[in-house]
C-alpha cells in the first residue's frame, strides 16, 4: 500500500553544485509544461554560481524504484524573496526570509506528472514529517538511498512570524550533536502528518537548528505561504492552498486540478530600475497576502516616491499603484484611494479610474448601478478588447450586479457564468483572477440568493486558488450564515437550539486565522465589513472570551451601519449581547451602554443580581458543609434576589423574560433543596409564564425540573434520562448532569463527563473545545479530582484552536494546583484576562496575591493584598467580624498582624510533636537506603526536594545550615502553603524562623512540578503536600527528603525508592 510518505518522497530533491561545495535539500514543484521549480532555503544556494539538482522520478513507488534526473542551473535561475534582508553573523549570511525558488528547464524526455500537493497552514502540535538529504549524497551514489524521512511535530507557531519551530522526535539522532546528523536538511519539505494520502500539504521548509547542536531537537522552518505568493507574483503560477478539515464536497469545482503551465517565463533583459520595482512589487504582494496591510502600503508608497520609479516601465508602475489602491480599498482609506486614483489618472495610468478596483469597490459598497455602469463602460471601450481578465471580470460583475438590480433568478446570473463542472466560463490571464470571480459568486450566492451552501463551496474554491486572504472574511461569514439560517426566525431573532454549530465552528476557524495574522489596519477593515458576523459567531458559540475581546473593536471600528439598520437598534443589540455576558460576573454598570433602554437596564441588573446569587450558591455548596450553608446568610441572599427579580420581571420586555423566569425557578429550587422551602406553587407559576416562549425543549426541561421536587429521586433520574435518551443532545445531557450536581451526586456527574469525552463524542463533535472548557470548569468549581482536569487539559490542548483560551486555562489550572513557578509571568499574563472582563478584579488580585505569597515574596503579596482587603467579605452574624479567606489569614499571620486565638489542633507542627515524629521516622526502614553508590550519585548533583515536616524537623533540631551543603533544595508551593497554614494555627515561631531562612538563602527554590509530572503522582496516589514534593523529585530527577509522618501506603510502595527520611539527611554527606 502506498502511504503519504511514499507519495511525497518524489518531491524531495538533493541540491549541491558541481564541486559539491554545499549539500542541501529542496522540494520539487512541477506545474506542467516545460518548467519545473524547486523551493529551498536561500542559504543553501546563495553562494553558488551553478546549482546542481537531483530530481527523483517515481517508476514504482511501492518497490522504491526511482529514476534520477540531474541538472545544473545557473544563478540567474535562482530567485530570492524580495523581503529578504541579509546580515552577517560571524561571516555567515543570515537571511531574514530564508527562501529561494529555482527555475529548471524540464527536458522533454523526463516525463513526470504535475505536482498535486497543497500549501497548508502550520498549527501548533501538528504532527509533521520531513524528507531530505542529511549529510548529502556521496558522489556517484543513488540519492534515493540517502533520502531520509524524519518525524516530529510543530512546537511553536507564532501567527505573525514567517517561521515556525518543530521538534524532530527520532531518538536515533546523536543527542550530543544533532546538527552533525541533520546538516543537509536545509530546504527539505515539511509535510502535514495529518493529511490523507491523496492531499498532502506542504507546511514549510527546514531552515536551521536551535544553537550549534539542535538542542532539544528543535528545528526552525520557514512557512510556505510566501513561496506561494512569490510563485504567483514572479511566474504567474497558482499553487492551491487548503484549510484544515475542509472536505472536498465543501469545495465547488470538485477535486484538485493542477494548473497547466506552459513554461513560458519572461527572459527579457531588464534594467536595474525594472528589477528593483519588480522586487518591491513582489514584496508588497507578499505583505498583502500575509495580511500586513500597513507594511504593504509603506512599501508601495516608498516605491512611488523613489526617484527610480519614473524610469520604470509603464506596466510595472501601474502594477504597484494598483496594489496600493487595493490596500486603500481593503483598509477603507477612501480619501487616500481617491487622491491616489486622481493623481494616477492625471499621470495616464488610468483613463477615468482603475476599472477593476471600481468594479469591486462599488459592488462591495452595494452601489450596483455604479458597478453596472463601470462594467458596461469597460466592455464598450475597444481599448479593453485584448484585456482578457478585465473583460471577464467586467462581464461577471455586470451579471452579478444585475442579480441585485433586476432581481434575476440564479440560473440567469451565476448560472450563466459557470459550465456544467462549475468552472468559470470566461478566460482569464491566470487562475488567480478566476479566484476573484469565484469569490464574488460565493458572495452573491449567500448575500443575494441566501444559498449559503453554495456560498461556502465557491468561497472555498476561491480560497484554494486565490491569494487574497480577504476571502477568509467572506468564507467565515458564509459559514456563519450557513450556521444560523435554519435557526433564524421571521423576526430576525435566532433560535440558539437550531444553530448548526459545526458551521459556526468553521466560521470561527476562518476568523481566528485573520485575528492571528492581520495587522491593525487590516483588522479594522475586517471589523467594518464583517465585524457583526464575527461577533455573533462567538455570541452563538457562547465563547465569552472572544465576545468580551471583540466588542471593543466593534465599538471602535464600525462607523457605517448596514443598510436599513436603525442605529439605535443596531447598537442596542451589540451592547446587550456584551452586557449580558458582563452581567454574569454579578456586577454591571448599565450606563456603560448608551443605547439600551430602561427595560434593558433592569434586565441586566436582574441578570447581575441573579448571577451574583447563583455564584454565592455555587461557592457555598462547593465549599461549605450543609450546616455552614444554613448559617451563612445565604438564605437571605437568595430571598432578596428573588424579591428583586420578581419586582423587576414585570418591567422587562416580554421577549426577554424567559431567562428571568428560568432563573427564578432555579433560585426557588435551590431554596427548596437547601433550606426546605415549600415553593412548588411558585415553580408552577413561573412555568406558566414560560408557556409563551414556544420552546418545547425548554418547557419539557422545566417540567422535569418541577418533577424533581415532586417525585422520588429514582423516578426523577429516570425521567431526566428518558429525556436525554429521546433528545440525545448536549442540552438534555447537561440537564441530567446538573440534576446530579444539585443533589450532590457528584460521582454520577463525574461519570457522565468521562462518558461524554470518551463514548459520546458525537455530542461534542461540533465544538469539542467548549466541552473541554466546561469539564475543567466543573472540576475546579466543585473540587473534583484535579487529575481529571489536568488530564483533560493535557489531552485537549492540542485541539484548542484558540491559543488565548489555552493560555487562560493553563493559568487557571496553575491556580487550582498551586503551581506558581514564575509568579511575575503569572501576574503579567493573567492581567489581560482581567482587563477583558474574563476575570473579576478580585479574582485577579487574589490569585496574584497567592502566587507571590507561596513564593515568599512579601512585598508583592502585600501589594495585591491591598486590593483584596477592600473587596466585600462575609460577616459573621454572631460577632459581626469579617470572615477572611484562608489565604488572607495565612498572610496576616505570616506578617504578624494577627495571631491565632485558639489552641493548636493535636496534629499540628509543634516542638512536642516534632520529637514524636522524629523518633517514629528513625524506626522506619521502607525508604531508600543511603549506601555508598547512592551517596556517590548524590554527590554529583546535590539536589533534593523537601516537604514541610522535614523542614520543620530541621529547624527544630537547629540544623538549617545543613541545607547549605546542597546545590539546590526545591520546596513545592504546597509545602509553603502548609507551613503558612501551620503558622496561622500555631503561631509557632520556629516556623517563622524557617520561612525567614528559606527566603534568605538562594539554595532554596520554590518550585512545583509541571502538570505532566504531577499526573505521574496523581494517577498513583492522592496528591497532597508531601506527594507534591515527590512530583518535583520525579521531574527534577532528584531525591525527595520527606518528614511527613502520615504518608499513605501507596506513596511508600510506589515512590519509596526515591524518598529519603529527613532523619537520614546526614548520611548523604558522610565521607
Amino acid at each position: 500500500m502506498v502511504t503519504g510518505e511514499d507519495r511525497t518522497r518524489q518531491y524531495s530533491v538533493y541540491i549541491t553544485d558541481k564541486d559539491t561545495t554545499v549539500n542541501g535539500s529542496g522540494v520539487l514543484y512541477y506545474p506542467g509544461g516545460g518548467t519545473m521549480f524547486v523551493f529551498t532555503c536561500a542559504h543553501v544556494v546563495d553562494d553558488l554560481e551553478t546549482v546542481r539538482i537531483f530530481v527523483l522520478k517515481p517508476l514504482d513507488v511501492e518497490k522504491d524504484q526511482y529514476e534520477v534526473f540531474t541538472t545544473d542551473v545557473s544563478r540567474e535561475q535562482v530567485y530570492f524573496s524580495p523581503l529578504d534582508t541579509v546580515t552577517m553573523d560571524h561571516e555567515v549570511k543570515v537571511h531574514s526570509e530564508d527562501l529561494a525558488i529555482i527555475e529548471i528547464k524540464k527536458p522533454e524526455t523526463f516525463d513526470i506528472a504535475p505536482t498535486d500537493y497543497f500549501v497548508g497552514e502550520s498549527s501548533r502540535h501538528n504532527p509533521i514529517y520531513t524528507q531530505g538529504y542529511p549529510n548529502g549524497v556521496p558522489a556517484g551514489q543513488n540519492p534515493v538511498e540517502y533520502l531520509e524521512c524524519l518525524h516530529g511535530s510543530v512546537v511553536l507557531n507564532i501567527a505573525d512570524n514567517n517561521r515556525f519551530t518543530i521538534r524532530i522526535e527520532e531518538n536515533y539522532l546523536d543527542q550530543g550533536n544533532r546538527v552533525y546528523e541533520l546538516r543537509g536538511l536545509s530546504g527539505a519539505p515539511i509535510w502535514d502528518g495529518k493529511s490523507d494520502v491523496e492531499t498532502q500539504s506542504l507546511l514549510g521548509l527546514i531552515s536551521s537548528a536551535y544553537d550549534k547542536t539542535a538542542l532539544l531537537s528543535k528545528i526552525f522552518a520557514m512557512k510556505s505561504q510566501q513561496i506561494r505568493s512569490l510563485m504567483n507574483e514572479k511566474f504567474g503560477i497558482t499553487i492551491e492552498r487548503k484549510l484544515v478539515d475542509i472536505p472536498d464536497e465543501d469545495v465547488a469545482g470538485g477535486t484538485f486540478k493542477p494548473i497547466e503551465f506552459d513554461g513560458s517565463v519572461s527572459k527579457a533583459e531588464k534594467s536595474d530600475a525594472e528589477k528593483w520595482i519588480e522586487e518591491q512589487t513582489a514584496a508588497c504582494r507578499c505583505s498583502i497576502d500575509d495580511l500586513k496591510l500597513q507594511k504593504a502600503i509603506d512599501i508601495a508608497k516608498a516605491v512611488i516616491c523613489d526617484e527610480r520609479f519614473e524610469s520604470c516601465g509603464f506596466d510595472s508602475k501601474k502594477r504597484i499603484v494598483q496594489y496600493l489602491l487595493y490596500c486603500y480599498e481593503i483598509g477603507d482609506l477612501d480619501a487616500e484611494f481617491d487622491e491616489l486614483e486622481t493623481e494616477m489618472v492625471e499621470k495616464g495610468f488610468f483613463k477615468k479610474y482603475d476599472i477593476l478596483r471600481h468594479l469591486t469597490r462599488s459592488f462591495m459598497k452595494k452601489q450596483y448601478k455604479e458597478t453596472i455602469a463601470v462594467a458596461e463602460d469597460c466592455l464598450s471601450d475597444p481599448d479593453n478588447e485584448s484585456k482578457t481578465t478585465l473583460i471577464a471580470c467586467a462581464k461577471s460583475f455586470l451579471i452579478l450586479a444585475k442579480a441585485y438590480e433586476e432581481n434575476l433568478p440564479v440560473e440567469e446570473t451565476i448560472g450563466s457564468l459557470l459550465d456544467e463542472h462549475e468552472n468559470f466560463i470566461y478566460q482569464t490571464d491566470d487562475l488567480e483572477d478566476s479566484g476573484l470571480i469565484y469569490q464574488m459568486i460565493g458572495y452573491v450566492y449567500g448575500e443575494c440568493y441566501h444559498d449559503h451552501v453554495n456560498a461556502v463551496r465557491f468561497l472555498n474554491r476561491s480560497y484554494r486558488i486565490g491569494f487574497d486572504n480577504i476571502v477568509l472574511e467572506s468564507l467565515g461569514a458564509a459559514y456563519y450564515f450557513l450556521g444560523i439560517t435554519d435557526a433564524t426566525r421571521e423576526d430576525g431573532t435566532v433560535d440558539y437550539q437550531k444553530i448548526d454549530q459545526k458551521s459556526l465552528y468553521k466560521a470561527r476557524e476562518c476568523f481566528l486565522i485573520i485575528i492571528g495574522k492581520a495587522d491593525e489596519l487590516f483588522w479594522s477593515g475586517t471589523v467594518r465589513r464583517i465585524g457583526l458576523c464575527i461577533y455573533n459567531t462567538f455570541v452563538f458559540l457562547q465563547d465569552n472570551y472572544r465576545i468580551l475581546t471583540i466588542y471593543p473593536d466593534i465599538k471602535k471600528y464600525i462607523t457605517v451601519l448596514p443598510e436599513q439598520e436603525d442605529e439605535h437598534t443596531f447598537w442596542r443589540d451589540i451592547e446587550m449581547k456584551y452586557a449580558r455576558i458582563a452581567a454574569q460576573s454579578g456586577k454591571i454598570n448599565t450606563y456603560d451602554y448608551p443605547h439600551i433602554n430602561r427595560s434593558d437596564r433592569i434586565l441586566l441588573e436582574t441578570i447581575a443580581k441573579t448571577s451574583e446569587c447563583e455564584n454565592y450558591i455555587e461557592q457555598a455548596i462547593a465549599n461549605f458543609r450543609p450546616e455552614q450553608v444554613k448559617a451563612s446568610g445565604l438564605e437571605q441572599i437568595i430571598k432578596q434576589a428573588i424579591r428583586d427579580t420578581e419586582n423587576n420581571v414585570r418591567v422587562i420586555d416580554r421577549r426577554d423574560r424567559t431567562p428571568v423566569y428560568v432563573q427564578l425557578m432555579n433560585m426557588y429550587g435551590r431554596g427548596m433543596l437547601l433550606f426546605g422551602w415549600k415553593k412548588i406553587d411558585k415553580l408552577h407559576y413561573c412555568r406558566e409564564r414560560l408557556q409563551e416562549c414556544n420552546d418545547d425543549e425548554l418547557l419539557e426541561s422545566m417540567d422535569n425540573f418541577i418533577y424533581e421536587y415532586e417525585a422520588p429521586m429514582d423516578d426523577v433520574i429516570a425521567r431526566f434520562r428518558q429525556t436525554f435518551d429521546k433528545r440525545k443532545n448536549l442540552r438534555s445531557w447537561q440537564e441530567l448532569n446538573h440534576l446530579y450536581v444539585r443533589h450532590g451526586m457528584m460521582d454520577q456527574a463525574d461519570a457522565m463527563y468521562k462518558e461524554l469525552l470518551v463514548e459520546r463524542k458525537e455530542l461534542i463533535a461540533e465544538g469539542p473545545e467548549y466541552a473541554y472548557r466546561a469539564y475543567i470548569d466543573y472540576i475546579t468549581l466543585y473540587h473534583r479530582d484535579m487529575k481529571d482536569a489536568l488530564q483533560c487539559y493535557l489531552d485537549a490542548k492540542e485541539a484548542f484552536q484558540d491559543t488565548d483560551i489555552e493560555g487562560f486555562w493553563e493559568l487557571e489550572l496553575m491556580v487550582y494546583t498551586n503551581t506558581f513557578n514564575d509568579p511575575e509571568r503569572f501576574e503579567i499574563e493573567r492581567k489581560p484576562f482581567m482587563e477583558k472582563g474574563l476575570l473579576t478584579e478580585e479574582q485577579y488580585h487574589r490569585t496574584a496575591f497567592i502566587a507571590y505569597m507561596v513564593n515568599l515574596n512579601e512585598e508583592k503579596a502585600r501589594e495585591h493584598n491591598e486590593y483584596i482587603r477592600h473587596y466585600p467579605h462575609y460577616v459573621n452574624p454572631v460577632n459581626n467580624m469579617l470572615i477572611l479567606q484562608l489565604e488572607e489569614i495565612h498572610f496576616l499571620n505570616w506578617i504578624g498582624q494577627i495571631k491565632p486565638s485558639f489552641l493548636p489542633p493535636p496534629q499540628s507542627m509543634t516542638s512536642e510533636r516534632a520529637v514524636l515524629v522524629r523518633s517514629r521516622l528513625m524506626n522506619e526502614s521502607w525508604h531508600r537506603e543511603i549506601d555508598k553508590p547512592f551517596r556517590n550519585q548524590f554527590s554529583i548533583d546535590k539536589t533534593a526536594v523537601i516537604d514541610a515536616w522535614a523542614l520543620y524537623i530541621m529547624v527544630e533540631n537547629g540544623k538549617l545550615d545543613d541545607f547549605l551543603k546542597f546545590d539546590h533544595v526545591y520546596i513545592s508551593h504546597n509545602t509553603i502553603t502548609r507551613l503558612l497554614d501551620e503558622l496561622s494555627r500555631t503561631d509557632n515561631q520556629k516556623i517563622r524562623e524557617l520561612l525567614d531562612y528559606v527566603k534568605a538563602h538562594d539554595v532554596f527554590t520554590m518550585y512545583s512540578a509541571s502538570f505532566k509530572s504531577q499526573m505521574e503522582v496523581r494517577n498513583a496516589v492522592v496528591y497532597s503536600e508531601p506527594t507534591s514534593a515527590v512530583a518535583v523529585s520525579i521531574e527534577k530527577k532528584c531525591i525527595a527528603i520527606l518528614g511527613d509522618p502520615d504518608l499513605d501506603r501507596g506513596t511508600v510502595e510506589i515512590f519509596g525508592s526515591r524518598i529519603v527520611r529527613v532523619t537520614e539527611i546526614g548520611k548523604l554527606f558522610e565521607e
Partner: protein, 305 residues
C-alpha cells in the same frame, strides 16, 4: 620508545601517547571521543598497562562524550590523574549543555577519588621523564553565544588544491568552548609533539609567540578542530615547523580541503595521519596534485618513533 595511537572516535578526538622503556611503559590519553565511542574507549583503557594521565582538552561532547557515557554507567576510571578545566556556568544554549556535561564528568571523577586538576598556560607537568608544557589557555571564559545554525552543509572539496591554497581562509571558528581548549607540548626523548584540541588558530599563534621567540619545530602537530580551516592561521608557517600532522575525524564533516591545501603550500612535502580515510571518496578532484602529501590512515598505532 614513543608511540602515538589514534582512534576513530566519531567526529571527536581520542589520542594515546605510549612511552617509556621495556621496564616501564606509560600512557597519556588525550580526549575520549563522542558518546558512541564509549565502548571502544573502555576497551582501549583495558588494553593499557598503565593509566598515568588523561587530558580532556575542553568541554565539548566530542571530546568528553566517551568518558561521560562510561561514568554514567558506573565505570571506574583507571587514570591516576585527570587534567581538565571547568568553564564558566554563565554559558548559554548549547555551550551551557556542554558545560553541564563537563561538570558532570568532573563531579563523577572527584566522587571516585580520581585526582582531577585544572590546567592552564604556564603549567609544566613532569611525568616519568616526559615533559608536558601547557601553553594555552591563559584563562577560561564563558561561552554566551547562541545562534541559529543553518542546516545546509558547506564543503570545499570541489575546488582544486591550488585554488584553495591561494585563497584566503574565509572562515573563523567562533566557539568559545573551542577557544578554551588546552594546548600543550609533549616532549620525550628528544621528540616534541604539539597537541591543540579544538583551539582557535589565533590562540595557538599567540600561545607559541608568548613562550617562544622563534619558529618551533615539532615532530608532530595535531591540527586543531578536526582539520577545520577556520582554526588555521596564516601565521602557522612562521611559527610552526613540521612535516607530520594529525587530523582526528571520522571524515563526515571534517576536515576542510583548504587545510590540506595550506599544509602543502606552507610545508611542502608532509604526511597527514588520520584514523579515518576521509580522502578516499570525493575529497580530491582528478586534477589535484597530491604528490607532495602522504596520507596515512591508521587506527591504533599510527607513529612509532
Amino acid at each position: 620508545m614513543l608511540h602515538l595511537y589514534t582512534y576513530n572516535a566519531g567526529k571527536g578526538d581520542c589520542i594515546r601517547i605510549e612511552y617509556g622503556d621495556e621496564t616501564s611503559v606509560h600512557n597519556i590519553v588525550i580526549d575520549t571521543g563522542v558518546t558512541r565511542f564509549a565502548p571502544s574507549f573502555q576497551i582501549i583503557c583495558k588494553s593499557m598497562t598503565s593509566h598515568d594521565l588523561l587530558i580532556l582538552t575542553h568541554v565539548d561532547d566530542d571530546h568528553i562524550g566517551g568518558i561521560l557515557s562510561l561514568l554514567r554507567f558506573g565505570w571506574k576510571c583507571p587514570f591516576k590523574e585527570v587534567r581538565m578545566n571547568r568553564s564558566g556556568t554563565l554559558s548559554s544554549g548549547n555551550a551551557y549543555l556542554s558545560v553541564r556535561q563537563n561538570d558532570e564528568v568532573y563531579s563523577r571523577l572527584v566522587d571516585q577519588g580520581v585526582d582531577v586538576k585544572p590546567i592552564l598556560a604556564g603549567e609544566v607537568i613532569e611525568l616519568y621523564n616526559a615533559k608536558i608544557t601547557t601553553i594555552w589557555p591563559k584563562g577560561i571564559i564563558a561561552d554566551n553565544s547562541r545562534c541559529d545554525t543553518p542546516l545546509a552543509y558547506q564543503r570545499d572539496y570541489g575546488k582544486s588544491l591550488n585554488t584553495l591554497a591561494d585563497e584566503p581562509i574565509k572562515t573563523t571558528d567562533h566557539s568559545i568552548n573551542n577557544r578554551n581548549s588546552i594546548v600543550f607540548i609533549f616532549e620525550y626523548d628528544g621528540r616534541r609533539l604539539l597537541f591543540t584540541g579544538d583551539a582557535w588558530g589565533t590562540g595557538i599563534v599567540e600561545a607559541l609567540k608568548t613562550v617562544y621567540a622563534s619558529k618551533q619545530h615539532f615532530d608532530l602537530v595535531k591540527l586543531p578542530h578536526h582539520g577545520a580551516a577556520g582554526n588555521l592561521s596564516e601565521e602557522y608557517p612562521n611559527i610552526i615547523q613540521s612535516d607530520s600532522f594529525l587530523i582526528c575525524t571520522d571524515g563526515v564533516m571534517h576536515p576542510d580541503k583548504q587545510t590540506i591545501a595550506k599544509l602543502i603550500k606552507w610545508y611542502g612535502c608532509c604526511t597527514v595521519y588520520s584514523p579515518s580515510n576521509w580522502w578516499s571518496s570525493g575529497f580530491f578532484t582528478d586534477t589535484d596534485d597530491r604528490s607532495s602529501i602522504e596520507l596515512v590512515q591508521k587506527e591504533g598505532v599510527a607513529i612509532r618513533w
